[in-house]
């Protein structure tokens, strides 16, 4: 009987409040726990204005500090992919079957109207004072219990966006969706993590290029 009382009591308790920083730490801890594969779909601003469909497959090897991003959409980038290692970035262009290799000095994405690297570290955005994060609020997203966190950029011109919203599943703490908005409320990027799994991946899986590709090494 005592056990049942405890269960009822716990079920009736509201979810314990967490801070945005704690949530982001939990997300990072899960992503760092082993190799994983994810698929992100949604919309992203195009360079000429308007929105274009985005469909990305991400493969990550945390122990090796490697990430591979395969573009399914937008159509203009389809079948291109980027592999990021601690030392180099490999950029594969399908149409010309070329691999362009750069040192990893600076990173940015071209061909899209929004710099996706702004999504890289939600916690860091807060630490640097670029974004003031609100308190996480309980919600549901696609039927899943989730946290909803809203952040506002202190200087939208410098940040490249004015407002950011993220949805994080309760357990495990994983990103479900993130959306960035311009000062006028226009969507800059709205991506949902539709698939996520910890999988077996090795260095060779990420550094896999067509053997007949032309290599161009930039110094």
């Amino acid at each position: 009987m005592r056990r049942w009382l405890a269960v009822l009591l716990l079920a009736g308790l509201p979810a314990l409040a967490v801070s945005a920083t704690e949530l982001f730490d939990q997300v990072n801890a899960d992503l760092s726990s082993g190799p994983w594969r994810a698929r992100l779909v949604g919309q992203i601003a195009s360079p000429g204005g308007g929105l274009q469909e985005a469909d990305l497959i991400i493969k990550a090897l945390p122990a090796e500090e490697m990430v591979r991003i395969e573009f399914q959409k937008p159509d203009a980038l389809a079948d291109n992919y980027v592999v990021i290692t601690p030392e180099k970035v490999y950029n594969y262009l399908f149409l010309t079957n070329q691999v362009v290799v750069y040192p990893r000095a600076r990173a940015r994405i071209e061909g899209l109207g929004f710099d996706l690297s702004r999504m890289s570290d939600l916690r860091q955005l807060g630490e640097k004072g670029e974004v003031g994060w609100g308190e996480p609020e309980e919600t549901t997203l696609a039927g899943r219990p989730a946290w909803h966190v809203v952040g506002r950029a202190a200087d939208p011109d410098a940040a490249g966006f004015a407002r950011v919203e993220v949805w994080i599943s309760r357990k495990p703490a994983r990103l479900l969706r993130s959306a960035f908005y311009a000062a006028g409320g226009e969507v800059l990027s709205d991506l949902s993590w539709v698939e996520f799994a910890h999988v077996e991946l090795g260095r060779d899986d990420l550094l896999d290029f067509p053997p007949d590709a032309e290599w161009i090494e930039k110094k």
């Binding site: 990072n28 945390p62 990430v67 203009a76 990021i84 149409l95 071209e110 890289s120 067509p210 110094k219």
Partner: protein, 274 residues
């Protein structure tokens, strides 16, 4: 390092750092029917977005055919969206022959272009020798590709030279990992037509490709590539054969046709940090 620095879309693509690097290529060329031989040297110096080249080609026993070349090209990188390049190179020989060529390439999203325009004066053209124009006089060649969708790519080229030209168009479509190509081309006039058939497929951990041209042009081109080796073979009629291979920093090419034969062996030595 924490995963946060890796987070997916975190750091996509970079721009090149300005650190310079160099490579030095040594080659030896030999050809006939009257046997000639000569060393070649190519120094390549990248400097930020620019790359500068210097070539020297000796030629024995006809020393007046010794030639020098200089080149400069600039690349424009746009990460996964594409890239472009503009360049100019020129060669001049002891006997006052010269060859100049300007070129540009652009791949942006679903479209790719590759343009070459040049002029060769008083120099034997060669389809084989990479330091020599393919034709005498002024010439221009435009290659283009357009990706209709993820399965279909339209591709072709137009090549114009003094006294004639060639054009070719083909459609490549993917089925799984295989790519098939079907097209047609013509030389000088539409009646000199030929058909193009192609096939490319992964084979174990390699890629093999075959391309066949039949009609006014008759040739079979085979290619093999794995992580360590690349090789190609061209058999054409009227009788002409080319074979080439690259491995590590080495490359070897050979050609034989009714006019003679040529070999070209070269080694590229990286000189990073010098």
């Amino acid at each position: 390092m924490k995963m946060k620095k890796l987070l997916p879309i975190a750091a996509m693509v970079l721009l090149a750092s300005p650190a310079a690097a160099q490579s030095l290529e040594f080659g030896i060329w030999a050809g006939g029917p009257a046997f000639s031989i000569g060393p070649t040297v190519n120094l390549e110096v990248p400097l930020e977005a620019w790359t500068f080249d210097a070539w020297l080609r000796a030629y024995l026993p006809n020393t007046d055919e010794i030639s020098f070349g200089l080149g400069a090209r600039r690349s424009f990188e746009a990460g996964p969206a594409g890239r472009g390049e503009l360049g100019l190179k020129g060669f001049i020989g002891m006997d006052a022959h010269y060859w100049v060529e300007g070129y540009g390439s652009l791949v942006l999203g679903k479209t790719a272009f590759d343009l070459k325009v040049g002029n060769t004066y008083n120099r034997t053209p060669s389809h084989f020798w990479p330091l020599q124009g393919e034709t005498l006089g002024t010439y221009g060649r435009l290659d283009a590709k357009y990706r209709i969708n993820r399965q279909l790519t339209l591709q072709g080229y137009v090549y114009l030279r003094e006294g004639g030209g060639q054009a070719e168009a083909s459609l490549a479509w993917r089925e799984g990992a295989q790519t098939y190509t079907l097209g047609a081309g013509g030389v000088d006039r539409a009646s000199n037509a030929y058909a193009v058939l192609g096939y490319r497929t992964p084979y174990e951990r390699a890629v093999v490709a075959a391309e066949l041209r039949l009609g006014y042009v008759n040739e079979l081109r085979l290619e093999y590539a794995d992580k360590l080796y690349k090789a190609h073979l061209l058999l054409a009629y009227p009788a002409r054969a080319q074979v080439g291979a690259t491995w590590n920093n080495w490359a070897l090419d050979a050609e034989v046709d009714g006019a003679g034969y040529e070999f070209y062996l070269r080694y590229t030595m990286p000189l990073e940090g010098l």
